[in-house]
């Protein structure tokens, strides 16, 4: 079972976990990652107030689905869930939820890492930082994210 969603509203992690745990009696392990808006106070800069996430409607959904399908092809999964939010997300808000269910823990955890790594480089979302003084700046892509995704290349 693959479930993807691009949405402004918060996700219900407990309901998603329960739904994916229940896809079959064979589920023995469920890996999960939640990304949140974190404080990244830098000396001399006003504190971060929020991230504003823009996405490419249509393509964002289809790329999440493609990443999820790749995970299911690569790992022996019984299902996975990928939810990515957009809009203005204040400090502490969840941004992204990744779940992977498998018979065994290793596949579930590996698939969770695969999904979040690829999501960061393959899904059309862009983050803008909003500081408490009202200033704002687009986040630059980090080469480290490309490297993390490249680990999964054959």
């Amino acid at each position: 079972m693959i479930r993807v969603s691009v949405q402004a509203e918060p996700f219900d992690a407990a309901a998603e976990i329960a739904a994916l745990s229940g896809v079959g009696a064979a589920v023995g392990g469920l890996g999960c990652f939640i990304g949140l808006v974190r404080a990244d106070d830098r000396p001399g800069e006003p504190p971060l107030a929020a991230l504003v996430l823009e996405h490419y409607p249509g393509m964002s959904e289809s790329m999440l689905r493609e990443v999820a399908e790749q995970a299911c092809a690569r790992f022996p999964l019984l299902g996975c869930t990928v939810i990515h939010r957009f809009g203005r997300l204040p400090l502490g808000e969840p941004i992204v939820l990744v779940l992977a269910a498998s018979r065994h823990r290793q596949a579930a955890l590996d698939a969770t890492g695969f999904l979040i790594d690829w999501l960061k480089t393959g899904a059309p979302f862009w983050k803008r930082e909003e500081r408490t003084d009202g200033s704002s700046r687009w986040v630059e892509a980090r080469p480290a994210d490309d490297h993390a995704a490249a680990r999964w290349k054959d």
């Binding site: 996405h55 490419y56 999501l119 393959g122 059309p124 892509a141 980090r142």
Partner: protein, 86 residues
């Protein structure tokens, strides 16, 4: 002859001051690299953004595309910075 539907995202959208436009393509503009060159020639703002050294990515019909990939009338072509989601 037909038009392409161009979309801009993130700082590209902001700095161009528009999120989309429809342009009629000359017949020789049939690949991603030729489309970008043609767009820069006709739009000084886009030219200076593309020349600023900041990377620009392209998607054709909602798939990531490279220089040599074809562009045809009716395509949806998006220009945007490297993604920063997750």
């Amino acid at each position: 002859m037909g038009s392409v539907h161009l979309l801009y995202f993130a700082w590209l959208r902001e700095q161009l001051g528009r999120s989309e436009e429809r342009l009629d393509l000359p017949p020789e503009v049939d690949r991603v690299d030729r489309l970008l060159r043609w767009l820069r020639q006709r739009d000084p703002a886009l030219d200076s953004l593309a020349g600023s050294g900041r990377a620009i990515r392209v998607a054709v019909n909602q798939r990531f595309a490279r220089d040599g990939d074809p562009v045809r009338a009716g395509d949806e072509v998006a220009l945007f910075p490297p993604v920063t989601g997750g």
